[in-house]
Point group: C2
Chain length 250, copies 2
């Protein structure tokens, strides 16, 4: 009960151009594992909706040595690190079917009232407290990424039907794609993503026009997705690592 | 060996705004089932690449009574209807874990030489002939959709990193999304997709600017995705069915 493990097999149709699991698919797997574990523990969607509440992903950070490759079996194991009235911290270990550790992720989930979209009070969910695990997570807690003063690139994006999830908001995986897409394909041929962090501030809806602003400094990209009034909807940091020694990412 | 069945469970994170499996995800499942069956029969990616060839999805049509809903378990069963030197016809039955038939799909796969992108000769794959099944598929063979003379809407789209698949081309599921996105969200609240057809003519690459042209006539939408020279890359037809009697899709 303290942990849940989900397993996946990476098919060719699930790969990106580098024949690996795309970052946005890993994020989707993380959400699936979290959802499955919360359901199993009895404080998933069905329980929270009784009080008019729902879980919302607030922050996510991950570090990967490498990503699963085509044909490879991989697993995500999740456990709860902490819990209080307003949010829950949940961690993940990603490894291959053969036991090789590929990386770790940390997430922060907030319960909100689905009508008011304001934070809910989780005090009634006493079972959550018993589910806290003392398993350590070897990556540091997510830092605060500051909005850069200048950007290299600003691109408009209109939210379309296929972006919308079961909460009728822009789906988490699509925010990740918008950040991934700030770099050209050749960069991902030369580099893989070694670390990624994202914080969500505001939910985006169908038909909204967003601005994706990004700036790259060496191996680090910072991207901000903002609405028409200039409010930041999310801020993300993506760190690249060279695939082959001796060649710098350009 | 004559058939392969894959099973899936629709998680909340995998749903669209209508709490159902998105059309593009169903298409991805169809490709996964086809890939898995071809691998199992010994003429998947690994066998074809020995001759410098690869399977490419050329045509797909499907009819659905309804789509899988959140939390629902569903399966796809696939079998080969026919095979000749140049292409293979493969069908699918989609049903719930409880045995309710949700729909059927037909696909046509062409083997191409990965260097020349020209049709390959499959005569050497004698095993394919033995795998042909006499199981019927109750939906008609895909018709030819003609390019409309006029369109209601034309939208530009630039191919980004997250669109690119393991063949380094625009991934099939994204073509489907581009077609789905020609309609606003409210239409999918009122209507579900009862039939869908797509034919691929030309592969699209990273950075290309495409034009998505669409026209709606009652419950039928026809969409053409074309390149900067006006060549059609694919043509698709999407048919809507009202979710509730008495209300017309507008």
């Amino acid at each position: 009960m303290g942990e849940l493990t989900i397993t996946r097999n990476l098919t060719a149709a699930g790969c990106n151009a580098q024949m690996e699991l795309p970052l946005q698919s890993l994020v989707r797997d993380i959400i699936d594992a979290a959802t499955g574990h919360a359901n199993q523990l009895g404080f998933g969607y069905a329980r929270l909706i009784e009080d008019g509440n729902a879980w919302v992903l607030s922050r996510l950070s991950l570090q990967m040595t490498r990503f699963p490759q085509v044909g490879e079996c991989y697993s995500l194991t999740t456990w709860i690190e902490s819990f209080n009235r307003h949010f829950s911290e949940r961690n993940f270990e990603i490894k291959t079917g053969g036991g090789e550790i590929l990386g770790y992720a940390r997430t922060v989930w907030v319960a909100i009232n689905i009508a008011t979209r304001r934070p809910a009070d989780l005090t009634a969910l006493t079972g959550l407290r018993d589910s806290v695990s003392d398993r350590p997570c070897p990556i540091p807690a997510q830092g605060k990424t500051r909005v850069p003063e200048t950007f290299d690139s600003q691109v408009s994006y209109i939210v379309v039907v296929s972006d919308i999830d079961s909460n009728r908001h822009l789906t988490t995986a699509r925010y990740v794609e918008l950040v991934v897409n700030t770099l050209p394909l050749g960069v991902y041929d030369r580099c893989s993503v070694s670390a990624f962090e994202i914080s969500f501030m505001r939910e985006c809806k169908f038909g909204e026009t967003l601005t994706v602003s990004s700036v790259r400094d060496g191996s680090t990209v910072i991207a901000v997705i903002s609405d028409t009034e200039g409010n930041a909807c999310c801020i993300a940091k993506l760190v690249l690592a060279e695939r082959i020694a001796g060649e710098n990412a350009k």
